[in-house]
């Protein structure tokens, strides 16, 4: 492994992402959690850029850091935003979980450490967005269309769960 600027950037971004995640779990105020989440989102977007996936990076910023965070903040504003989550769970569970994380981490690390993929694609960054679009609307048209059904279902579900449904109101309409 050679030390390069790319590596440095990756390390910084990864560190921020991980710290954001850990903070999200450990902070007690909801708003703080969201901010921690934003850190993670943005550093992930940075990592996408490093991987020559500009389109995904932009989408990441747009959707996650932008839209989703905003909606979350709205949600917090409209509900009891003073809520603090209470730490729970026994020590035993935490130990198990820690060992699990450790074991899993080590196992994955063994796998990817010094992993070497010989042929590197060199044209990924050229017309990145166009390539994605081409694939999406030709080769992957079926899953793409299916995704629209998925979104429709999600929409309906959201309406069902969110709708204020008092019998009287329904009658009034």
């Amino acid at each position: 492994m050679t030390f390069s600027g790319e590596l440095l950037a990756f390390l910084c971004l990864a560190l921020v992402a991980v710290i954001g995640g850990v903070l999200l779990l450990n902070l007690t105020k909801v708003v703080h959690m969201v901010v921690a989440l934003v850190f993670t989102f943005i550093s992930l977007a940075g990592i996408y850029v490093l991987l020559s996936a500009e389109f995904v990076a932009v989408v990441q910023v747009l959707i996650y850091s932008g839209a989703i965070t905003i909606i979350m903040l709205f949600g917090i504003m409209l509900t009891r935003h003073n809520d603090t989550s209470e730490p729970k769970g026994g020590a035993l569970k935490k130990i198990f979980l820690f060992l699990g994380v450790l074991g899993f981490g080590v196992a994955v690390y063994i796998g990817i450490y010094n992993l070497d993929f010989n042929p590197q694609a060199t044209t990924l960054h050229e017309n990145n967005t166009e390539q994605i679009g081409m694939a999406l609307y030709s080769k992957y048209i079926i899953p793409f269309e299916l995704t629209s059904v998925l979104l429709l279902v999600a929409l309906i579900g959201a309406i069902i769960l969110a709708k204020n449904d008092n019998k009287k109101e329904a009658d009034k309409e």
Binding site: G89, K93, F104, A107
Partner: protein, 621 residues
């Protein structure tokens, strides 16, 4: 014979018909059941006579194909099947008839008949099965039928418990059967009896596997036939209606275990160890159950223990390579035990109690039941000229000639016990004074007595199909064309017959001394037989001696054995159940309802898998 498959269908039709229309038919359902089982009986007889002149018939069709494995379904009529068909359909028909009177007035009358039909169907189906798988299926179905019938009086807490116990205990045995069956299948590649025997004959299966499978299958038989240590369900099963006890827990279903061993006899003979196991378990059960029977006071429980003991006899016979003796005793036992149960039912019907301490002096009041019960008692005690004498004699000869004197003498002692407790029962119920207020004691209606008379006749004559005096037709016919089953008749030393007779007479005599004589002065018996009375009177000290030495010790022993049964055997069963329940408790405790916990378990599970993978694969450098 080509249409023998139709025999089990009649009771099935009865079952379905009564299930659908029984409610409307009310007590007329009895006639439907009777008519249809009668058809079965007639056809069974036709098949039996047909079988005398024709070779074994077998027909089957592919039922299920799994991969290259073809499983078949069909039916077979060989000697054993044909005989069993007649026994089952006959007893079933008689019990159907009898129940018409016994169950009179029960508001679930039609359901009772429907269940009887289901059971008879299953039992007949079991008997005609040409392969192990089909046998197993009907074997389970028989268990279901038995479960339903034992629990028929479900409003009684005991009946419910008994039904459950019976089902679970026999299932423990069934697991053994299933594993044995699968192992055999694995080795032979077929469930067909013929194919299995062929493979055994050709030595295609290793000796160890033969022994293992034979013993596993025997475990199934142990469960079904109430052999030690899985016998505890059978006495409890007496909570069912008495005709059910006669049909299922005396004549047919419990004999299925014996039948199974007989049907797979060539497999068992191929392994000394397996045969020995069968013989030892059988002999032990015979004496064990008989000794418990000595102290029981419930009329049906005495009979139940005697059933267990007699089944042990059959197993002993089979284990001693006495194929004919075992099957022969199965047949005679079916008749006289069914008779005894039906007669007991008639008694219960008359006096509305099952406690023999409360009975007595019924001989005069039950003019028909009394003598019939006596016939059954004589038959089971092995008194000469009655059927049980011949079949028991065969068993003793088989045990002796097989070269195991210990088992032989165990069987002899068990025979003594049998004679003793059966006559104790007889004397306590039918002679002496009534020990409690008995009102309205009257003989049962014709519909109940006629089946008993038929069985009474059979309990006498059934023995003559196979006697050393007039010829061994049954034995010769049973083993015809199949050397693997042994000889039709084995010559034994003449003294065995004498010993057997003496032993049973001794038992009867002792019982009479203790339970019959006690009331001699007051009873009519004393005045009619003064000579006997005086003779016995002079031997009073002997009487005391017997009472002290023999009876007291055996009584002590039987109490001890009852305790073993109550604490050790049941304890083990309960222990296993307890462990399972404990596991369940822990399992539901982890199930706390916390979402995080579920995710944690899943993730930790994944991590453990991966870590094990790393370690086992040697990837950790």
């Amino acid at each position: 014979m080509e249409n023998a498959w139709i025999i089990p269908l009649f009771p099935l039709i009865s079952f379905l018909f009564l299930l659908l229309f029984g409610r409307r038919l009310k007590e007329n359902s009895g006639y439907v059941g009777m008519a249809l089982t009668f058809l079965s009986l007639i056809y069974s007889l036709v098949v039996l006579f047909d079988r005398f002149n024709h070779p074994t018939y077998k027909a089957e069709a592919t039922w299920l194909a799994i991969g290259d494995v073809q499983l078949t379904a069909g039916f077979e009529v060989n000697q054993l099947n044909a005989l069993m068909l007649v026994i089952v359909s006959l007893v079933s028909f008689l019990v159907h008839t009898y129940s018409k009177g016994y169950m009179h007035g029960d508001d679930r009358f039609h359901i009772f008949y429907a269940y009887l039909g289901l059971f008879t169907f299953a039992m007949l189906g079991l008997v005609v099965s040409p392969n192990l798988l089909q046998t197993y299926i009907f074997w389970e179905l028989v268990g279901v039928g038995s479960f339903l019938l034992i629990g028929f009086y479900f409003y009684k807490e005991e009946a419910k418990a008994a039904a459950k116990k019976a089902f679970i205990m026999t299932r423990i045995g069934d697991v053994g059967l299933l594993i044995g069956m699968i192992l055999l299948f694995w080795q032979v590649g077929s469930f067909e009896y013929d194919a299995i025997f062929l493979a055994v004959e050709e030595g295609a299966i290793s000796a160890g596997i033969i022994t293992l499978t034979a013993i596993l299958i025997f475990i199934g038989a142990v469960g079904k036939s109430g052999q030690f240590p899985l016998h505890t369900w059978l006495p409890d099963a007496m909570e069912g209606p008495t005709p059910v006890s006669a049909l299922i827990h005396a004549a047919t279903m419990v004999a299925a275990g014996v039948y199974l061993v007989a049907a797979l006899f060539p497999l068992f003979t191929a392994s000394e160890t397996a045969l020995m196991t069968v013989a030892v378990i059988g002999a032990f059960t015979a004496i064990f159950a008989a000794s418990i029977g000595l102290v029981q006071t419930d009329i049906k429980r005495v009979l139940a223990y005697s059933t267990v003991s007699q089944l042990g006899y059959m197993m002993l016979a089979l284990g001693s390579a006495g194929y004919v003796a075992g099957v022969f005793h199965l047949m005679t036992h079916a008749f006289f035990k069914a008779l005894l149960f039906l007669a007991a039912g008639s008694v219960i019907h008359a006096v509305h109690t099952q406690n023999i301490e409360e009975m007595g002096g019924l001989w005069k009041k039950l003019r028909l039941t009394g003598p019939l019960f006596l016939i059954g008692t004589l038959a089971i005690s092995g008194v000469p000229l009655f059927s049980g004498f011949f079949s028991k004699d065969e068993i003793l000869i088989a045990a002796w000639t097989n070269g195991n004197p210990v088992l032989f003498w165990l069987a002899v002692i068990a025979a003594f016990f049998t004679a003793f407790y059966m006559f104790r029962l007889f004397f306590m119920v039918f002679t002496g004074q009534s020990r409690s207020e008995m009102k309205n004691v009257h003989e049962s209606p014709k519909v109940m007595t006629v089946p008993m008379i038929v069985l009474g006749v059979l309990a006498v004559v059934a023995g003559y199909f196979n006697t050393p005096w007039f010829g061994t037709f049954l034995g010769d016919w049973l083993v015809e064309g199949n050397e693997a089953l042994g000889h039709g008749h084995t010559e034994g030393p003449a003294w065995i017959m004498i010993v057997a007779t003496l032993v049973s007479l001794l038992g009867i005599f002792l019982a009479w001394l203790m339970y019959g004589k006690k009331s001699l002065q007051r009873d009519w018996l004393s005045s009619r037989m003064p000579i006997t009375y005086n003779m016995l009177y002079n031997k009073y000290y002997l009487d005391e001696f017997y009472a002290l030495s023999v009876v007291k010790t055996t009584k002590g022993l039987s109490v001890l054995l009852s305790y073993i049964e109550a604490f050790v055997v049941e304890g083990i069963v309960k222990g296993v159940a307890g462990i399972v329940h404990g596991l369940g408790k822990t399992g539901s405790k982890i199930q706390s309802g916390q979402v995080q916990a579920y995710g944690t378990v899943a993730f930790v599970g994944l991590a453990v898998l991966v870590v094990v993978y790393v370690l086992a694969g040697g990837y950790l450098k």
